[in-house]
Symmetry: C2
Subunit: 109 residues, 2 copies
């Protein structure tokens, strides 16, 4: 991908991760793999972990340490009520943005 995506991801990557977690609990390595799978080829691992710590400190997710069969223990994150609320706010903001952008795209004026 390119630098454009990197900058565009600011603010949205957080929503993406929260949206993933709203479907089911997940841990960092898993989320990174998921993103890579979906075409976000150059999201650094470190980025995801930093983001997870951030949303944990803001109280949007609950964390549980789960032993793994093949590696160090996983930190499994799940969306809590506050996170759910924040995610809904995220979708509203996202809708607002996409609407404006769509207008610009077709109208160009």
């Amino acid at each position: 991908m390119g630098k454009q995506v990197t900058e565009m991801l600011k603010g949205t990557l957080e929503g993406i991760v929260l949206a993933i977690l709203s479907g089911r609990p997940a841990y960092g390595y898993e989320i990174t793999a998921w993103l890579r799978d979906r075409g976000f080829t150059d999201i650094a691992e470190g980025t995801v972990y930093a983001l997870l710590i951030r949303i944990e400190q803001r109280g949007l997710v609950d964390v549980e340490k789960v032993p793994s069969q093949k590696g160090p223990p996983r930190k499994v994150y799940s969306l809590n009520a506050q996170g759910q609320e924040y995610l809904e706010e995220f979708w509203r903001t996202w809708s607002f943005l996409t609407e404006r952008l769509e207008q610009l795209r077709v109208g160009g004026r």
Copy 2:
């Protein structure tokens, strides 16, 4: 608006401004007013000017100083070929992002 929009705008505001300029040339004050009009209520003036200087230095726009009837001369920006190309790349990146997000929104998985 809120903090969420602020972060989401990083990377997209640039595209928004370029998209505006693809419709017709415009100057900073005008662009700011346009944005405010469209609901981007708390985009600071300074932000737009800084952005314009950035894209000018990257060679995406041409600039012309035009005297104004009511104030200091305007710096009118217009999209050049390189900017057009960059804008198209922006739309591709944007499409990629919206597709993923839309999938996440409906699927939640």
